[in-house]
């Protein structure tokens, strides 16, 4: 059970206000996608929930303030996958996935049989066990992303924070990764809070969307309410049309404003 409630969250980076009293919530086992133009504050919100930034306001995980949680305890509940994770090129996939067990180890402890088993199961689940002995530097974009998710899964978290999990992936691998995340959410009740650039995909996978603009919430709710031509045109300064897919979800199509 891992419901997140963010209330009146404000964050300054280098003394510049980046988030202004943002409030939003995700039910346990839900998927909330943060969308918005570059610099809107999506990553900052994610990092604050991960406990990595000083902030004002409250972030509650099942009613408990995450600011009061100690590092290891927090890391057992929340896994954070940055947009560009650092992958030491000479580390093997096996060693890397095992790092996910860090919050479960005592200060001088070393991974037990159980920890290795959990990491191996996570690797199996994300289909990276086949190349567990390969070095991270030799992996393709899709393999890297799955290895990173396997590390996050090895943490056995209640909450998965994903910053642009599909960046650098082709459309097929994008769908593959998003399906995997959705499957983890359904099968294990993991709560997902992610940023997503692709608006159509955000509407297809997340139950709720929050549109951020200049550090404030511009719109929030179901995909159909947030992904409107009007809002997207205004917030992104983009030219789009919004249709619907066979499942009735919005499809955002970019259009060229001036035909050559």
């Amino acid at each position: 059970m891992s419901a997140i409630k963010v209330a009146e969250l404000s964050v300054d980076l280098d003394r510049v206000p980046v988030l202004h009293a943002v409030s939003c919530a995700v039910a346990s086992g839900g998927w909330l996608a943060l969308i918005g133009p570059n610099g809107a504050g999506k990553t900052t919100l994610l990092r604050a929930v991960a406990g990595l930034l000083p902030h004002r306001g409250t972030i509650l995980l099942d009613g408990a303030d995450i600011g009061a949680l100690r590092g290891r305890r927090r890391a057992r509940l929340i896994a954070y996958v940055p947009q560009a994770p650092v992958l030491p090129p000479d580390m093997t996939v096996r060693e890397y996935v095992l790092l996910g067990r860090t919050p479960h180890l005592g200060y001088l402890g070393s991974p037990s049989r159980h920890d290795r088993g959990t990491a191996a199961a996570a690797a199996e689940r994300l289909d990276v066990a086949r190349f567990a002995d390969r070095r991270l530097g030799s992996l393709s974009g899709g393999e890297r992303q799955r290895a990173v998710l396997a590390r996050a899964l090895a943490q056995e978290p209640g909450v998965l924070l994903l910053d642009e999990p599909t960046s650098d992936l082709d459309i097929g691998h994008q769908q593959q990764v998003l399906e995997l995340v959705d499957d983890l959410r359904r099968s294990r009740g993991v709560t997902v809070l992610s940023t997503l650039h692709d608006l159509t995909q955000a509407g297809q996978y997340a139950g709720e969307l929050v549109l951020l603009h200049a550090g404030r919430i511009e719109a929030a709710g179901a995909a159909a309410a947030v992904l409107t031509e009007n809002l997207i045109t205004r917030v992104y300064a983009a030219h789009v049309t919004v249709g619907t897919d066979p499942g009735g979800r919005p499809v955002v199509t970019p259009v060229r404003a001036i035909e050559p």
Partner: protein, 349 residues
Amino acid sequence: MKTSGRRLRVAWAFGVAAAFLVAATLASALVGAADLNPLATANAMLDHIPLVHLPSSLSPLDRAVLFQIRLPRIVVGLMVGGLLSVAGAGYQGVFRNPLVDSGMLGASAGAGLGATLAIAYLSGSHGPFGAGPGVVPVAAFAGSLAGVAIAYLAGAAGGSGPATLLLAGVAVGLFLTGVQTFILQRSAQDLQQVYSWLLGSLSGATWQQAAEIGPYAAVSVTIVLLHGRHLDVLSVGDEEARALGLHPGRIRLIVIAACALAAASAVAVSGLIGFVGIVVPHVVRRLAGTSYRLVLPLSLLAGAGFLVLADTLARTVLSPAELPIGVVTALVGAPVFVWILRSTAAVRT
């Protein structure tokens, strides 16, 4: 299946490192100006192992050479090599930078300044302590630790990121070296003594030295070895390490302090010996992979053997004259280092 294969590889790496250390020790005990009988020497050494009693035909003079000259030098060499290598590997983990050495962060420069001050004003030809080595090791030890402390404080002021710390270390090192050069210029009569100290030597090694740095060596090495797993986690960067529940700043402080103590202990008895802290951990990585849980203990073993071997060369190549050991480690170390870089690049591409 795979797990046992990995264990085998780890056992093999430790076996190779231990065999190298033993071979280097034996070779060093047998080679030298006094021509000792190999079998008798081996017996005399084994006789000192508890529960082993072997008759040895070594003459009293030969025994004195072995136990009062060669063995203390070997033991100090083992300690210095192990300390420098562990400190180098530890720093490389803390700074996520493979080119960092045990002399980083103002450690070597601080030791150099400390030794220079001691030679010029305390123990040199005009100093109150008279000529002699007594006060130089203490000054080098203190200078080395002070150099790291100043660099750490200067770097921490600008945020405790590894890059800032490294830059602060370079700046502090340059400053301390500047002060040292200034002092040297004003006391040119001590130039020779300072210079020979700077190049490093184990020629004055005694059992007493080994006993004096023993406690510092034990404490610092234990602390660094216990943090191998943390250094592995740090390799994914501070932010992700924090997201995994670690305190990167705290771990960096602990490991830096332990590495500084290890390097200072080594410097106190050997002077400045370069390249060991870079070359040994890199060779180990080629053998055993990059996990610090293996790199640190293997560096300890391999570094100990490497330095004893280098010292054996230093005292035999131009016998009866001695080469500074820093010259040997540089002459052997630099080509090995280039070879490692080239072959590593080949693996990557």
